[in-house]
């Protein structure tokens, strides 16, 4: 146990998760570049601490809902890497049978209930699973991940209002990366105060450094404990930044509202590097452990890639299957 109060195993687990997400996406960058993966792909790079820090506090049977930018949440909640990679390739063995692509990852067996491409749409769905928990009395917690863009949508307020009214076991995680596609928050909202809006819906609304996994872990631990304990919902606004373009692999320096300096500044605040430094300082991550982890992850990715590449495409005859259950 180091001075944070967070068990060493958890620290390591979060580190592995963050690195797994990063490495996985670095691989995707190459595959997107050569067009081997073709579906619209929104990279999570730069935001890894959020998914990792929050999911480390969740039980396997807790619910998570994600967005178009879903890789991080899927991996952090324990989604199967092979099924994810196959999904991105549009293969039948994909987690969504090749029908969803990157924006629609799912793994209900580990509580990743789904990811949707309509901004804001999964927020009330998460509240719905929390309502189910409350009715069923099984104290499963629901987490809605969404971006700052989703807080432009009225359904955000509708969802918070209802969750608060009924004190449902849900935690709202707003990953404020300051942009909705090309448009910065300051051109969409009169103030940078998402967490305060949660407060007017009578729930804790806090703003934290989303690039600091320790802060994310601790804040969400409290929120999740409160939810599970019947003390109602919370919102955590995690300040962060996406390193790459809104969609696809390139950087988007100087196209529209982002400058290279701004991106570079955030790259210096790399959540993984910072965490590595912390761990090293605490003596809980030796160089040999690091390279062991690194090799292990590379192996996993290689395996997933092979699996995806070797998997068959869905057959045209499947097209109309499963419109209904």
């Amino acid at each position: 146990m180091v001075k944070t109060g967070i068990p060493v195993a958890t620290l390591r687990e979060m580190y592995v998760t963050m690195l797994r997400i990063r490495r996985c996406e670095n691989t995707l960058v190459e595959l997107l570049r050569i067009n081997e993966i073709r579906c619209p792909t929104h990279l999570y790079t730069g935001q890894e601490a959020i998914a990792a820090g929050i999911c480390a506090n969740l039980r396997k049977d807790d619910y998570v809902f994600s967005t178009h930018r879903s890789h991080g949440h899927y991996i952090a909640k324990g989604g199967d890497l092979k099924a994810m990679m196959a999904e991105l390739y549009g293969k039948r063995t994909g987690c969504s049978r090749g029908r969803g692509g990157s924006m629609h990852l799912v793994d209900p067996e580990v509580g990743l209930m789904g990811s949707a491409a309509i901004v804001g749409s999964t927020i009330p769905l998460a509240v719905g699973t929390a309502l189910a928990s409350a009715i069923q009395g099984n104290n499963r917690v629901a987490v809605a991940f969404f971006g700052d863009g989703a807080t432009d949508e009225g359904v955000f307020d509708e969802s918070l209002n209802f969750a608060s009214l009924r004190k449902l076991p849900v935690v709202f995680i707003c990953e404020n990366n300051l942009f909705s596609t090309h448009l910065p928050l300051y051109l969409r909202q009169p103030a940078d105060n998402i967490s305060e809006r949660a407060q007017t819906h009578i729930m804790p609304g806090i703003k934290i450094d989303g690039n600091n996994v320790l802060e994310v872990y601790e804040a969400s631990q409290e929120a999740i404990d409160n939810a599970r304990g019947g003390r109602g919902p919370s919102l955590i606004e995690c300040r962060t930044y996406r390193w790459r373009a809104h969609v696809g692999w390139p950087q988007d320096y100087d196209v529209g509202f982002r400058t290279k300096e701004e991106v570079k500044k955030w790259e210096k605040r790399c959540p993984i590097k910072a965490f590595e430094k912390f761990l090293a300082g605490q003596g809980v991550l030796s160089e040999s452990e690091k390279s062991q982890i690194s090799e292990q992850i590379d192996r996993e990715i290689e395996e997933a890639l092979t699996f995806a590449r070797e998997s068959p495409f869905p057959d045209e005859s499947e097209l109309l299957e499963g419109v209904y259950r």
Partner: protein, 328 residues
Amino acid sequence: MSRKLTYVQAINEAVTQMMDKDSSVFIMGIGVNSPWYVGQSCAGLYERFGDKRVIDTPVAENGMTGVAVGAAMAGMRPIIVHPRMDFMYYAMDQIINQAANWHYMFGGRVNVPVTIRGIVNRGGEQAAQHSQSLQAMFMHVPGLKVVMPSTPYDAKGLLVASIRDDNPVIYIDDRWLYEQSGEVPEELYEVPIGKGVIRREGKDITVVATSYLVCEANKAAENLEKEGIDTEIVDLRSLKPLDNNLVIESVKKTGRLVIADGGWKTGGAGAEISALVVGSAFKYLKAPIMRVSLPDAPAPASSALEKAYYPTAETIVSAVKKVLEESL
């Protein structure tokens, strides 16, 4: 067994019995705990099942529908009530982009057993925003089922089937039917989704009708009989999936078709049924197919205009006669 219930009592009984029997069933929506808002259709539910399973909601159709859809993903069988279909426009994203798509989009890994009950509440000078019938829009959407009971028996049986169905079902009931009375078994039973029924056999012409217009079609058939015209009436009951065979077989027999549906004409349910028949039973057709529907106009308030707006038995009679006149 010949217990009679009204249509609205049948709805109420279906919900009550399903909630008694299956703890995953619950109901939410505007007015579900109101003494008057949704007629008597939710009477007694709150008293019996309490605040946990009878949730009168804020006025936030999109969010509340999403909550029901989410709960369905977590193993519940929610019924979300929209006291007027007009309000459902707010909730289209949750109904279509989410509820209808998730099962297919996730390769069958998630399903959404939600019943979305939309009430047709019109007439009485309620005007354009409190009168609509949106079945045609929902019928267009893959992943949704759409049912429209016309009798108390079906009101109960289709609601039970909707709640038990593993897919999102749009259950549409019409307040003009609420006081109609008919036989309704006390036990739980299902009317299968996707199956229509012949309400009356006839050989001269088929009238395919939905919901309230089945009643008007029945009246029309009686009047037509007096003039020696023998009408077959098909009550669709389900608009999606459609009972294609039932419709096609009937038209094969009679060779003539009138479709009576209470939505707007252009792009309405009647268009689909017409296209279906002309695609599959063209050779048997002896005459043009006519549609009885709302005209292509918003609902007016003034009762002077409402009279002309809503189709009746007479409208159906005229359409039938026109088809017969124009027969080859």
